[in-house]
């Protein structure tokens, strides 16, 4: 290495240092610690005691892990599908040329700015079985609405419906993607006699596929990490009948109520592996459907 190269390397490392220090301190060190503590009996207050794979053995035989994982899978699937549909529909509507477009875009984006805690409290009122607005609306249609958050058959559904409230971010991304679809393709399709729906299916959606894929991946990661809504709306219990005990809520209870940080770290490691595997599988499966080349 020449002195110039050495100097460049030093300068390069110096400029990278803030990022490197950040990633080592706030990402790699916590991940490595979690991995080590997952092999220990550790309450944070006393020194960790190495117990080998005991936490993992317990984890795989713990019915609550499967229950909470199932709840998270249902929530992540439902919320991703619904949010994708809502964000795509809103973006398509907001991509038309109507008066007051900026106003509508702002209005539909606004709810996603509301903090999750405030949104959760608001939805607790909306989903109130006796005096909630949703059941009042259903009653106008002649439907007797359920006790959403008190009924294990509807509690998860209520949270999935609530997830669409925060579709504003995904909507903006889809909207940006829509405006990037080459008009030449639409014009060519119109000349070929394609209807609106033909163009949507054969031009718009393939062109949007990278954007939709991004939203789906982010949605799944967010879906598996859902916590705040369940924490606020069920007072951290995952009630009724543990129908809203999501994986991260279970992890939180184990860590901060039972003071079992070792076991909680094992849960966190498993969640990390699940999300990593899912992302990898989705990347492989979706490779055939995503159009990157324009």
């Amino acid at each position: 290495m020449t002195p110039l190269e050495q100097r460049n390397l030093k300068m390069g490392l110096l400029f990278c240092a803030p990022w490197l220090i950040g990633i080592v301190t706030f990402l790699l060190y916590p991940i490595a610690s979690a991995l080590i503590y997952s092999l220990c009996d550790y309450s944070v207050l006393l020194p960790p005691v190495y117990i080998g794979a005991e936490n993992y053995r317990e984890l795989f035989t713990d019915p609550l892990v499967y229950k909470s994982l199932w709840n998270s899978v249902v929530y992540a699937t439902g919320s991703v599908l619904l949010s994708s549909l809502v964000s795509l529909s809103l973006a398509l509507l907001l991509n038309t040329k109507v008066r007051g477009l900026a106003f509508y875009r702002t209005i539909f984006f606004l709810p996603s700015l509301m903090p999750v805690v405030a949104g959760s409290v608001l939805f607790m009122w909306l989903f109130n079985g006796q005096s909630g607005l949703i059941n009042a609306f259903l009653a106008m249609l002649g439907v007797s609405g359920p006790a959403w958050l008190a009924d294990p058959r509807f509690a998860k559904l209520a949270m999935i419906l609530m997830a669409s409230w925060g579709s504003g971010h995904a909507m903006v991304i889809v909207l940006a993607g829509l405006q990037d679809v080459p008009t030449a393709l639409h014009e060519a399709a119109i000349i070929d006699g394609a209807t609106y729906w033909d163009r949507l299916w054969h031009v718009t959606l393939p062109m949007l596929s990278p954007v939709l894929y991004f939203n789906v991946i982010m949605g799944i990661i967010g879906g598996f990490q859902v916590f705040t809504q369940a924490f606020i709306m069920t007072d951290a219990t995952g009630s009724p009948e543990r129908s809203t005990l999501f994986f991260v809520l279970h992890l939180f209870n184990v860590a901060f109520q039972d003071l079992r940080m070792g076991y909680a770290c094992a849960l966190a490691c498993v969640l990390f592996l699940i999300i990593l595997s899912l992302t990898w599988v989705l990347t492989k499966v979706s490779a055939r459907f995503i159009v990157y080349d324009r």
């Binding site: 006393l46 006796q130 909630g132 008190a150 109520q257 039972d258």
Partner: protein
């Protein structure tokens, strides 16, 4: 260069002196080095928090008075900090090495905190300070013990009793001055106090009492319930206690003991009589506990198991309410359980790693003295956990039923949460089992059997970990 450095150092020295002089001039407290500050974390806000603030103020004033009398005495100054979800935040603070010097916890959390090494063992300190068992009601003192050591001192205690709405009793033709004594009587009263709005086949509505099992669910709407065996989630595991059941016998989990099965079968009978759907809808209309829409305060529920604090909420949100309280009924074939109640207490602990444990102990000593506790419990409208209460305290108390709650704590049939480090987990399991039983998704045997199996594993695991740490395994 050297001159410059010298000038800077000289300048810094002068600035430090100036800062010191200013600090001394601004410090109004006596003593050479100012007061010894004790940081005190408490969970209560509102009038309960204000009562604690008065105790802190009284202590601080005493310390200042002592400092005036003894010029070389450095007074202690307690700084109260209100903390929400203290159970979690205190743990994080202790783990981070920055705990408060003293903290107010719930007694049910003590075993877990003690077992994890989060608290100072106060056994010897109490002996030295003269804080003795004989000065307290035994059950509250016992709540502060775990594995033979003292980890806390009780402050504001609580016991539970059946609260009932006398107006609704009178409207249902019941004697408003007589509470049900047995569970069977409670069930009979509850049926008379349950009211429905029934849509008549020919149009119009009628208000009818009873469970109306013959009327289809689609034609009736619940307006008022006589009794609901519910309550805060942390109590849902305690219903067995009112039937003589225990949740733990030594290191054996006994969730599915016959008494517990009987209790939860009784609890489940209310879902069967009222209908799960009707009950769900009715429940979802309840307002927040601390509001005028509270089910008991608004007259939606005629009888409810509640604690000594309920009087405060009645005064605040339903001041004109005609109410009374009585010991919770016992099964007719178990008269030995008369005057039973679930009791717990707020406690003061000194976390491990506290910077000023001696000063914290001095505050604890005052806060748990007769004077301190009467000041606190009068403000919080509770009774004291002390063996003796002054006549002035009893005279000044506004809760007309305060002696009942105190007596329930003294009753030999009073019971507490099991003393185990896994109670948080146990309580969550019982609450989840309660959900399943209440919704008729599981029988008591299925639900409690599953809890027993799971929690036995947890208790064994905890015991193993403790023996390992103690070097006995």
């Amino acid at each position: 260069m050297r001159k410059l450095r010298h000038a800077v150092r000289h300048n810094q020295g002068r600035r430090s002196l100036l800062a010191l002089a200013l600090a001394s001039a601004c410090n109004p407290t006596p003593g050479l080095d100012g007061p010894r500050t004790v940081v005190y974390w408490e969970k209560w806000t509102n009038f309960e928090g204000e009562a604690i603030a008065r105790v802190v103020q009284a202590f601080n004033e005493k310390e200042l008075a002592r400092a005036k009398a003894e010029p070389h005495y450095r007074p202690i100054r307690v700084e109260r900090v209100t903390i929400s979800r203290i159970d979690e935040k205190l743990l994080v603070a202790i783990a981070g090495g920055e705990p408060p010097d003293i903290a107010g916890l719930y007694s049910r959390l003590l075993p877990a905190y003690a077992q994890k090494g989060a608290l100072l063992d106060l056994t010897l300190q109490f002996q030295r300070a003269g804080i003795e068992r004989a000065d307290f009601v035994p059950i509250y003192w016992n709540l502060c013990q775990f594995r033979g050591k003292m980890w806390a001192a009780p402050t504001a205690p609580a016991s539970l009793a059946l609260h009932f709405n006398q107006r609704l009793f009178a409207e249902a033709g019941l004697n408003p001055d007589r509470a049900p004594v047995t569970i069977e009587e409670l069930d009979a009263f509850a049926e008379r106090l349950t009211r429905w709005e029934v849509r008549l086949p020919g149009g119009g509505v009628e208000i009818l009492s009873g469970y109306l099992n013959e009327v289809p669910a689609t034609r009736k709407r619940l307006l008022q319930v006589g009794f609901l065996p519910a309550g805060p989630r942390e109590w849902l595991g305690h219903w067995g206690g009112f039937f003589g059941g225990k949740l733990l016998a030594g290191s054996h989990v006994t969730a599915a003991a016959p008494e517990n099965l009987r209790a939860y079968a009784w609890m489940q009978s209310y879902s069967q009589k009222l209908g799960v759907e009707a009950l769900r809808k009715f429940r979802s209309g309840f307002g927040k506990f601390a509001s005028a829409q509270n089910a008991f305060l608004s007259g939606q529920v005629a009888m409810q198991l509640q604690g000594v604090w309920m009087h405060n909420f009645i005064q605040r949100y339903a001041p004109g309410m005609q109410w009374s309280a009585a010991p919770f009924p016992f099964p007719a074939d178990r008269p030995d359980l008369a005057n039973h109640s679930m009791v717990e207490a707020d406690v003061l602990v000194i976390p491990k790693g506290a910077k000023r444990p001696e000063e914290a102990l001095a505050f604890l000593e005052y806060a748990t003295s007769q004077e301190g506790l009467e000041l606190l419990c009068l403000g919080q409208h509770k009774f004291t956990p002390r063996a003796m209460e002054s006549e002035a305290f009893q005279r000044a108390h506004t809760n007309p039923k305060i002696s009942l709650f105190r007596q329930l704590g003294l009753s030999p049939t009073a019971f507490t949460a099991p003393q185990t480090g896994v109670w948080q987990e146990y309580g969550r399991e019982m609450a989840a089992a309660y959900d399943a039983m209440e919704h008729l998704a599981q029988t008591p045997r299925e639900a409690l059997g599953a809890v027993e199996l799971r929690m036995q594993g947890a208790v064994d695991r905890e015991r193993r970990a403790w023996l390992l740490r103690e070097g006995r395994l």
